[in-house]
């Protein structure tokens, strides 16, 4: 039965900013879905507050609303657009929760919007713990298999404490209802832990509900991805087995597809149960994910949970199998059945089948604990990883080794060269799951641990550990062999060893191993991901490497451009870079090139086999890229490799690729180096007559001391060559400098430390620009809300700049052009400036696509990454203006006066992390980037845009109530005006005694509240922290105290996070918030699509 004819328009809800547990995978899924729906002739209306997504590109949907994903805003969009249907299953938990809220408020009924893809009853059955237990019980009655872990639902701490006994005592698992990525869940081993975790969980759950569960720690963990159509045809797209047994969130586990350690009978049991669950829950059409635990001792099956929507796992399954779950879910939602949808890859066979894999897929998580040194790095049922890499190999060891090297993190690959250490200590360490546990296990094996010992310590399935033993045996053979024979080298490669690993084992240089290997003719072949284990011919060139016999790369005629992606998402290098890579692929494809994408991140649009002409799902290391270049050169002409769009990962490979004879297009590796090397860049600035803050490079503490004294405190210190401000700190005096170098012991001996003057009170400005060698196109100028010193990635910013005048822009343009010319940029450059007094300092320049390119592109309606890709391959800005890719005249620096104001706000993962005592981590911003994602608020005036950005990132700003204010001395002066505004708008002020005094002297009455350290007063007066926890505070302004005392407001800020009260940590943010609150109070905040904004902007550009 073909598609429904009663639906002409559909609203798709995205997932909002990238946060832990809800990341780029929803851009991949949502983009696929929007494209499919549009191709079906439906009017697609999209809402997503995340500008760094492909799905919010104006051509993906008919009306794209970059607006907060809250019931209020979505209802406004519904009122305006009047869609026939709402598809809520593609935007993660955010979209699902919003859809449920709209249903409950009656908005959907009021506007006659039908929910498609999932019904409310099914969503509740799948997500509500109690209802899901009934589902599982019903399934057991029908199939004879599957059960729930013994559990009890609790709505209060009393119920929680009483519940433990009924489950047979500790440990117990706590799971809050309706939270995403398992937020707030964890294991409690005693009452203290239970009180903490359950208390948090009750708060986090929108229904104040937690589930207490028997522990099934150490069981085998599996997931099935299923799809069902309206005729009740059900297929299992993929099975996934977790390398890490139960106890570690599946998002934090190393996972393997297909399942490796199930007999057919056991697998079919899971399949039967899975199908029965999807039917019982009543997911009419679309995908769902079901998680199982299997007792390794007797096969008892516990059904853990199901998600009645596409998920991170479904994105992984899609990439792992070539079966595009989101795309097919969208088709099913509009009425098709599985047998009516062709399998894209074979084209000849239908989608109503179950993919068969003739390879192994391994996903490995990437963590960012180094950004949150106070956080407990034990892996639990709360997801903590910020990204992931996937690798494909013809066997598990090959895929595993590729996945580990795809993580691009020091120490992520197995190390067979350094002594492993003490076996017992290693086994003890391996018992606690952490980032890199697999490396500890390997070290234990190297130290002589037996299979049984490894199992006893980790409960990792013996089949997996045996594969680790196998890898180690090969390493030992490689080490012991008198010479590197072709057989042995080939064998090591078949098990996924990198040239670098072999080199380390043999005490050789990596390039020497590579030369030997090439001389022996040992090279990888490229196999196809084809959904069917070669049963049918594949039409889609989706490749992975393997050291096997036969390659499947077909010859081609057109010149190819190889685009290097950005690898696993991490803080500082996320979806924004994928956005640019995808744009390059689109633009170069249109310009007549054969586009070849290389990436290893399964969450992204770039690794959708539909994005580029060819996809290589491969690690982004020199070795792997060189082999791809070799294979593609054998297939046809290669015009070059694009390295400047995928962030630091490909940029770091540029010089080595060039040294190996690979043509790099765009900005040359030498120019890249010029911008990154401090001395050389200093000369560029000098020649252009541009000031930079005073700085120095220190190779020892003594040197650092002298340099810092010369520059004057405060200074900013950081290791050289970093992205995302890793290890960057502001130090205010010599003791803190010493402390910094002590904390980063070993740093200074390996890398020099850069010491910069810290520009207190400066305005920070970001510029994205294009340069073709002759002409500069100023893409956009962003003015940061927070002052310099807060990492640009964590700072909110406005575009066009709100306080800079024409003269400032002129200076910025001239400086940008001088730097672009001096460095030799061909493509994009991002420069950070600081305006202090009247001096414009250059902080740094990055000759590559920046994190802000998608934001700038959307705010100005100009596709900067596409233009950059074209410039890389020789087009000029003049040509692109003529073509219409860039505006005919003018640029992002001279936007019309009535251009909309766009505000970018960063989203930070505070709720995810706890220290070992279980307390929250501090939320103060600093020079080290810690945000995982961003949102955009766009409107005609700054206040409204800012208010939207806050609503999208954290929840709406309050328009009345109590504001608690406690600021550092240096901020007290600038506090008066915004505080006065708050009072004028009807807020009651609460303050600590010092701040209250200042306010009082300025004629503002504030209620004095007790500090946390003072404790409850003699008459039981609560402290501010207690007030926050009690829900008596609506807005918090708390700036950190000057030197050393940055922890003073710690308890206030962590309480704010726990209670989700807006908390501003800079006075600049307060000033912006006041404007936002004012805009909200003034009246109706409207919604406007990007297409409308663009039309407005284009018209204004023409008339100006």
């Amino acid at each position: 039965m073909p598609k429904r004819t009663d639906i002409q328009s559909v609203l798709v809800i995205g997932s909002g900013p990238i946060v832990i547990g809800q990341a780029a995978e929803f851009d991949y899924s949502g983009t696929q879905a929007c494209r499919v729906l549009k191709a079906e002739g439906l009017r697609v209306i999209l809402v997503n507050s995340n500008p760094a997504t492909i799905m919010t590109d104006p051509e993906i949907a008919d009306a794209t609303y970059v607006e907060p994903i809250t019931p209020e805003f979505v209802e406004k969009i519904i009122a305006k657009e009047r869609p026939d249907a709402l598809l809520p299953t593609l935007g993660g938990q955010t979209a699902l929760n919003t859809a449920i809220a709209l249903n409950e408020s009656g908005a959907l009924a009021e506007y006659g919007v039908e929910l498609i893809g999932a019904n409310v009853e099914a969503i509740n059955k799948g997500e509500d713990r109690d209802q899901f237990k009934d589902v599982v019980a019903a399934v057991r009655a029908r199939t004879g298999h599957g059960e729930s872990a013994r559990s009890v639902i609790c709505h209060s701490m009393e119920e929680v404490l009483a519940g433990v006994d009924g489950l047979g005592g500790y440990p117990v698992v706590v799971r809050p209802s309706f939270t995403m990525g398992g937020a707030g869940s964890g294991f409690a081993h005693d009452e203290e832990e239970l009180r903490r975790i359950a208390g948090q969980g009750l708060t986090l759950s929108p229904t104040t509900e937690v589930l207490l569960e028997e522990s099934i720690l150490g069981w085998k963990e599996y997931e099935l991805e299923l799809m069902r159509d309206k005729h009740d045809n059900v297929v299992v797209v993929c099975s996934i087995e977790n390398f890490d047994p139960m106890g570690v969130h599946t998002g934090d586990s190393i996972t393997v597809a297909p399942a490796m350690t199930l007999t057919d009978r056991e697998y079919q049991t899971l399949r039967d149960v899975g199908i029965a669950v999807i039917r019982e829950v009543g997911v009419d059409t679309g995908g769902c994910n079901i998680q199982f635990a299997v007792d390794p001792a007797d096969g008892r099956v516990v059904v853990i949970e199901m998600n009645p929507r596409v998920s991170r796992s479904s994105a992984l399954a899609s990439k792992a199998t070539g079966f595009p779950i989101a795309k097919i879910a969208a088709k099913l939602a509009v009425g098709y059945t599985l047998d009516e949808i062709p399998n894209d890859i074979t084209e000849q066979t239908p989608a109503s089948f179950e993919p068969s894999l003739d390879y192994v897929v391994v996903k490995a998580p990437r963590f960012a604990f180094e950004k949150f040194p106070a956080a407990d790095d034990t892996l639990t049922t709360t997801m903590k990883s910020v990204g992931e890499a996937m690798a494909i190999g013809r066997n598990f060891p090959e895929a595993l080794n590729k996945a580990l090297r795809s993580l691009e993190k020091k120490g992520s690959q197995f190390d067979f060269a350094t002594p492993p250490g003490d076996k017992e200590a290693l086994l003890a360490k391996a018992a606690r799951p952490t980032d890199g546990r697999i490396n500890t296990v390997m070290d234990a094996i190297r130290a002589g641990a037996t299979q049984q010992e490894v199992f006893d310590s980790t409960k990792i399935d013996p089949w997996f550990t045996d594969q680790l033993f196998l890898i180690n045996e090969i390493a030992e053979e490689v080490a012991a062999a008198p010479e590197l024979s072709p057989q042995l080298l080939g064998e090591a490669k078949r098990y996924g060893f990198s040239d670098a690993q072999i080199a380390a084992v043999r005490s050789l240089r990596e390039d020497v191993v590579r030369e030997v290997r090439h001389a022996l003719g040992i090279r990888p072949v490229y196999k196809t991901v084809d959904t069917c284990a070669a049963e049918f011919a594949a039409r889609t060139p989706y490749f992975y490497s393997s050291y096997d016999e036969e390659s499947e790369v077909a010859p081609r005629e057109k010149p190819a451009v190889i685009i290097l992606g950005s690898g696993p998402n991490r803080i500082g290098q996320g979806i924004e870079f994928d956005y640019s890579c995808v744009h390059a692929s689109f633009a170069l494809g249109e310009a007549g090139y054969e586009t070849v994408m290389v990436n290893c991140n399964p969450e992204t649009v770039s690794t959708d086999y539909d994005t580029s002409d060819r996809l290589y799902f491969e690690p982004l290391t020199l070795e792997d890229v060189l082999e791809i270049v070799h294979a593609e050169r054998a297939a046809g002409p290669v015009a070059g490799v694009v390295v400047q769009l995928g962030g630091q990962t490909p940029l770091g490979l540029a010089q080595a690729l060039k040294d190996n004879g690979v043509p790099i297009v765009g900005t040359s590796p030498e120019a890249i180096n010029l911008a990154e090397e401090r001395g050389a860049f200093g000369r560029v600035l000098e020649e252009a007559g541009l000031p930079a803050p005073k700085y120095g490079t220190a190779y020892s503490f003594e040197q650092a001391k002298v340099i810092a004294a010369e520059i004057n405190y405060p200074v900013m210190v950081r290791p050289s060559y970093v992205l995302g401000g890793r290890g960057m700190e502001i130090v205010y005096d010599e003791p803190s400098l010493a402390g910094y170098l002590e904390r980063h012991a070993g740093l200074i001996s390996e890398h020099p430390v850069l010491i910069d003057r810290f520009l207190d009170d400066a305005i920070e400005i970001d510029v994205d620009a294009l340069y073709d060698g002759r002409e500069l196109y100023l893409g956009g100028v962003m003015e940061h809300i927070e002052e310099a010193g807060i990492h640009s990635g964590d700072s909110a910013c406005a575009l066009p700049p709100i306080t800079l005048g024409g003269h400032d822009i002129k200076r910025l343009r001239a400086s940008t052009e001088a730097i672009a010319r001096g460095v030799g940029v061909r493509g994009l450059i991002n420069i950070q400036f600081a305006m202090s007094g009247d001096i414009l300092y250059v902080l740094e320049a990055n000759p590559r696509a920046s994190r802000t390119v998608p934001f700038t592109s959307k705010a100005t309606a100009v596709p900067l990454a596409k233009a950059a890709a074209r410039i890389s391959l020789g087009s000029t800005i003049a040509e692109l203006r003529q073509e219409g890719m860039l505006p005919a005249a003018g640029d992002g620096g001279d936007l019309p006066m009535d251009a909309p104001i766009s505000v970018k706000e960063a989203v930070l993962p505070w709720t995810r992390f706890r220290d070992v005592q279980g307390r929250g981590v501090d939320t103060v911003l600093g020079p080290e980037m810690r945000s995982t994602g961003e949102v955009m608020g766009i409107d005609s005036v700054f206040g409204t845009s800012y208010a939207k950005s806050q609503a999208a990132a954290y929840g709406a700003l309050p328009t009345k109530g109590r504001a608690f204010i406690s600021v550092a001395n240096r901020d007290k002066r600038s506090l008066i005006f915004p505080a006065r505004e708050l009072v004028a708008m009807g807020f009651e002020l609460l303050a600590t005694s010092g701040t209250a005094e200042v306010l009082k002297r300025n004629g503002l009455n504030a209620t004095v509240v007790r500090k946390h350290s003072q404790g409850r007063g003699p008459d039981g007066e609560p402290t501010v922290v207690q007030l926050i926890h009690g829900g008596h505070v609506d807005l918090i302004v708390n700036t950190p105290w000057g030197t050393g005392g940055r922890l003073d407001g710690y308890d206030i800020r962590t309480a704010a996070v726990a209670r989700a009260v807006p908390c501003l940590t800079t006075v600049q943010a307060l000033a912006a918030a006041v404007q936002g609150i004012e805009a909200l109070t003034r009246g109706e905040v409207g919604v406007r699509s990007l297409q409308e904004h663009a039309a407005h902007l284009t018209a204004a550009r023409k008339s100006s």
């Binding site: 297929v235 057919d264 039967d272 066979t349 089948f353 179950e354 068969s356 598990f396 013996p462 070669a534």
Partner: protein
């Protein structure tokens, strides 16, 4: 459940030689020696134990497309017959340490104990693609001393091995003596099952539904069948070319004449096809796997809107019957009831005027999904005289047994 890994054991070289001259080098797996058969590939990612013991694989060398084989070892519950039937086994990465609470020994040990010659470490995907493009063909695996001869000699030996087309094999795999699988619970019906290479799960699925199954040898005559006073007659799966199955075809015609409810699976489907007067033919490379989409004709008699089931297949031959027309046969009208959506191959037949139907695929699964278990219910309904048997129980039975 856990055996200590034996280290990277001595590697005996092995070679696989196809009749068209392509060869693959690897290592001996299982028994060392030589073996010949028809090279076919199986795309199942689970169920190697069931595959190995499926009598339909007699005289075939099975290439597993899933790279890791043997991970769950061997247990004593999952075999589909009393022995391994494959003539040879081709895998990429055999497990060293099996892991499963039911495992009692390794697959390697089992293959060796049963004298099955295998080869590991070959590019099974390249081999599969070759077979897909060139079709199933004869193959030899040589390991140890047998591999020492030159490739030309080995190729000559492969080419002189018998081919699958024209092979009459079911007599070689079927039981020689009748036996009875008792009904579970209350006995409702008696079925005479003609063993042409029957898999253990088939009588099991019937027994679960209250059927007492009398399994009869392949050369059973009508008198033998009717001696058990059957409520229904079943024709099993089995190896070989259906064109050679003269005896089973003749036997089935007698059953059709008498109008006894009849159900056939796989080879049994081909025999029904031939009994009705349709031809059978050899597929280029067959269907072998557990992920094949089969659509049943809808209750309106059309394909569109028909239910799709994911099914287990193991067949190299197929029935040649029109998909979109009702055929007149000596036993009344017949139609194709099921079709494979991948390639439009006939996957099921049914008579419209007599109580007989068959499917080309494996509703008993083992290995494979349980989507088609309803066909056993349909057989029960047929024997129960349900006039509307064709769509009596379309509700899928998931997980009757797992």
């Amino acid at each position: 459940m856990m055996t200590t890994s034996t280290g990277r054991a001595a590697r005996t070289p092995a070679v696989l030689v196809l009749e068209d001259g392509r060869s693959f080098r690897g290592r001996a797996y299982g028994a060392v020696g030589e073996t010949f058969g028809e090279a076919v590939f199986n795309t199942g990612m689970t169920g190697y134990q069931e595959t190995l013991t499926d009598p339909s694989y007699h005289r075939q060398v099975v290439v597993m497309t899933a790279p890791h084989i043997g991970n769950t070892g061997i247990n004593d519950e999952d075999p589909e017959s009393t022995r391994i039937w494959v003539a040879g086994y081709v895998v990429r990465d055999p497990a060293r340490t099996p892991s499963n609470w039911r495992s009692v020994r390794t697959l390697d040990e089992e293959l060796t104990a049963q004298g099955v010659v295998g080869i590991s470490g070959v590019d099974t995907r390249a081999l599969t693609r070759h077979l897909r493009e060139r079709g199933a063909m004869r193959v030899g695996i040589f390991s140890g001393e047998a591999a020492a001869a030159g490739e030309a000699t080995l190729l000559e030996r492969v080419r002189s091995a018998p081919a699958m087309a024209g092979a009459d094999l079911c007599g070689e795999v079927a039981t020689k003596v009748p036996y009875v699988v008792p009904a579970q619970g209350t006995k409702r019906f008696t079925v005479a099952a003609v063993d042409l290479g029957i898999k253990g799960m088939t009588p099991q699925r019937m027994a679960e539904r209250g059927i007492e199954v009398h399994v009869l040898p392949a050369d059973a005559r009508a008198e033998d069948v009717y001696a058990v006073e059957p409520d229904g007659v079943f024709f099993s799966n089995g190896p070989g070319d259906p064109a050679t199955a003269e005896h089973p075809v003749a036997l089935m015609r007698e059953v059709l004449e008498r109008g006894t409810p009849l159900f056939g699976i796989c080879f049994g489907n081909q025999i029904l096809g031939r009994a009705l007067g349709f031809g059978t033919f050899k597929l280029k490379y067959g269907h072998r796997g557990v992920n094949q989409p089969v659509q049943e004709r809808s209750s309106e008699g059309t394909w569109a809107g028909g239910k799709v089931e994911v099914t287990a297949h193991n067949h190299g031959f197929a029935v040649d019957a029109p998909l979109d027309a009702v055929s007149e046969t000596p036993y009344g009208r017949a139609e194709v009831s099921h079709v494979c959506l991948n390639d439009d191959v006939v996957e099921g037949l049914r008579l419209l005027d007599r109580p007989a139907f068959s499917v080309q695929y494996h509703p008993e699964a083992a290995a494979g999904p349980h989507d088609a278990a309803y066909l056993f219910d349909r057989f029960v309904a047929l024997m129960g005289g349900d006039p509307d048997h064709q769509h009596s129980t379309t509700q899928h039975m998931e997980g009757q047994r797992a």
